[in-house]
């Protein structure tokens, strides 16, 4: 009898823990800062009755969070296009998309095709694009007029006046600045390791130039706004936003090419609100909403008219930063083969620990 009671208590506990998660009228979105503006969430709620709960994150954290729950806890995620294939193969955290539920005619065909190509596993597509942008330099041109490549971040005249984000982008960008081709070496681990190690040596040698390593867009914006740094590696959207405040600060595609990425919509494997997720995807790709989103984040959406669907200020900042040659010179991130991130992680640790 007593045993039975214990079992009953345990059973109620189990029921209580399995039935609490969100009802279908909430969408738990795992995304980047600035990708889910309040007013859009409000409009979405008025139209569909669905509440959007937003969690801000980055590529690594998205994978780690979903890995910890086997793809649960969120209904829709926004990892970059090159971070889906390997994560899905190794951790099985996503679920294929039903493209018939999405208005694919709204998309820029080349961006849609690129994301499909990167995220197709066993014939199933896992992602559709949302925003795209590039990584390059943000420069205060009044104070650093000649800073044009990642290697220039190490120029002694900027001692203590530059910042960097200690992630894989800085390694790859420095590799390109040194005349190597890191993306081309993705298939050859030994060659890639050689390039990354050379880039790391350079980054360790120029640590005196670095004021601090930034970790988020707000962090970086504050450093530039206050004039504490004059240049950094950066996402173009963050730089365009700063450009609207201070015309001296803008994005600068490095001479060795800006690095292009596409942030996607991808369904976590245990998504509990798949329908709501499709509704959100279609909603934010509507021209009027795409324009609001783009003006807010500073990035261009994957809508077929994405370049026009944004604020005039942003268009001005973009054309001030990018020439047609710069656009043609964009190096697109390719799917990361397994094993590379282990090498990069060790190298990044070495840079951080170097005195």
């Amino acid at each position: 009898m007593r045993k039975f009671k214990v079992l009953a208590v345990l059973a109620t506990l189990a029921v209580a823990t399995t039935t609490t998660p969100a009802a279908a009228d909430t969408l738990r979105l795992l995304t980047w800062g600035s990708y889910a503006p309040e007013n859009v969430i409000e409009m979405f709620k008025n139209e569909t009755g669905i509440e959007v709960e937003v969690t801000f994150s980055n590529n690594e954290e998205m994978i780690s969070k979903l890995r910890a729950t086997g793809g649960g806890g969120f209904d829709l995620a926004q990892p970059s296009h090159d971070r889906i294939h390997a994560a899905q193969l190794e951790y099985n955290i996503y679920r294929p998309m039903d493209l018939s539920k999405i208005d694919t005619s709204a998309y820029d065909p080349s961006l849609l095709a690129a994301v499909k190509a990167n995220t197709t596993i066993d014939g199933e597509v896992y992602s559709v694009p949302h925003f795209w942008g590039t990584s390059g330099l943000v420069v205060n041109k009044a104070k650093a007029p000649d800073l044009e490549s990642f290697a220039d971040l190490c120029d002694p005249q900027y001692e203590g006046r530059v910042s960097m984000r200690l992630k894989r982008t800085i390694l790859i960008g420095m590799g390109y600045a040194m005349g190597e081709d890191p993306f081309g070496a993705y298939g050859d681990i030994a060659e890639y390791e050689r390039i990354i190690n050379a880039a790391a040596e350079k980054l360790i040698a120029c640590k005196a130039n670095v004021k601090t390593y930034w970790t988020g867009g707000d962090d970086l914006s504050n450093l530039l706004r206050s004039g504490e740094i004059v240049a950094s590696d950066a996402w173009d959207g963050t730089a365009f936003k700063l450009n609207t405040e201070n015309p001296d600060i803008n994005f600068r595609p490095p001479s060795h090419g800006a690095m292009g990425w596409i942030d996607t919509f991808t369904l976590p494997r245990k998504s509990k609100a798949e329908e709501a997720a499709y509704q959100w995807i279609n909603f934010v790709m509507r021209p009027d909403i795409a324009k609001m989103m783009s003006s807010h984040s500073g990035y261009v959406t994957a809508h077929k008219d994405g370049g026009d669907l944004t604020s005039d200020q942003l268009k001005a900042s973009f054309s001030d930063a990018f020439s047609n040659d710069d656009v043609a010179n964009i190096k697109w991130f390719a799917n990361i083969p397994p094993g590379l991130e282990d090498i990069e992680g060790k190298v990044l640790e070495r840079i951080k620990a170097a005195q």
Binding site: E60, S226, R350, A353
Partner: protein
């Protein structure tokens, strides 16, 4: 049911929440972490069992240097916290009047109502190059160019002392409060000066409080994450940051788990050493035996 079994049942019921807490939130997760730490990743999706993650820690100087750095800074912070906290605690417990005592204690508590993150950002606003302190120094003419006070080890130490000093003050106040003032008077009557009384009477009496405070402060410091990261800047690796990196950015849960276990062992060892050196036992810091 007889008297004895009722008493046993009562004891069991009273202990149950505590036992559940210990088992479900402390023992079980640590067992899980320990098992995970013994799993070696050979290739994606291929694992074996072995001590490789622990060996990696000793083979790679970056890792054990970071742990030693964290430990030595934590000891420094503990010592500084004692130096800052003891006079405050002594004043509150022995010198301040009854009403001032409450106000002072409250004054120490209030900063704790604000979260760690906000307090760290507070320091950043004060100390950054374009911040309050730098602007003030320029205004007074003491310096002519902006000074950067953030992003170095001294700032981390100051920030940590500020965050944890209360955990030193509280146990010190309660032990000193229980000390009979006539002991101090007797010390003076027998010809001791201020220093001798402090060294021979007050400190030995307060030892259990000092040890308790030091243990809490040391553990909190060694395990802190936000303050060293936000104030520390480009060179300051803290061991907790290393654990975070392993888990989150390198997807290497196995080695992150091993680091977690190592941090626990290392801090426990330090506390044990501290107890041995100070001649205290864990029991004496919890309750005073009036023998």
């Amino acid at each position: 049911m007889n008297q004895r079994s009722i008493r046993r049942l009562t004891l069991f019921m009273l202990l149950a929440p505590f036992l559940l807490w210990i088992a479900l939130l402390i023992v079980l997760p640590h067992a899980g972490i320990f098992t995970l730490s013994l799993r070696e990743k050979v290739a994606p999706l291929v694992y074996t069992v072995g001590p490789g993650n622990y060996l990696d820690f000793f083979r790679e100087p970056i890792y054990w240097n970071t742990l030693l750095r964290t430990a030595s800074f934590s000891v420094l912070v503990t010592a500084l916290t004692f130096l800052v906290g003891f006079p405050i605690a002594y004043y509150i417990a022995k010198i301040a009047g009854r009403r001032a005592r409450g106000a002072l204690f409250l004054g120490c508590l209030i900063p704790l109502w604000v979260s760690d993150l906000v307090r760290a950002y507070g320091w950043m606003i004060l100390l950054r190059e374009t911040g309050v302190v730098s602007s003030f120094l320029q205004w007074t003419g003491i310096v002519s160019v902006p000074v950067e006070l953030l992003y170095n080890d001294a700032t981390v130490v100051v920030g940590l002392v500020y965050t944890v000093v209360l955990f030193m003050i509280v146990p010190l106040v309660s032990t000193l409060d229980g000390m009979d003032n006539s002991l101090i008077e007797a010390g003076y009557n027998l010809g001791g000066n201020g220093l001798t009384v402090m060294r021979r009477i007050v400190i030995p009496y307060a030892m259990p409080g000092i040890v308790a405070g030091s243990i809490v402060v040391f553990m909190l410091t060694a395990g802190s994450y936000l303050t060293p990261i936000l104030l520390g800047g480009k060179n300051s690796m803290w061991f907790t940051e290393q654990i975070y990196e392993q888990f989150i950015t390198r997807f290497n849960w196995e080695s992150g788990a091993a680091f977690g276990i190592l941090l626990l062992l290392f801090t426990s060892l330090t506390v044990w050493l501290g107890l041995r050196l100070s001649g205290q036992s864990l029991a004496s810091t919890v309750a005073r035996n009036e023998a």
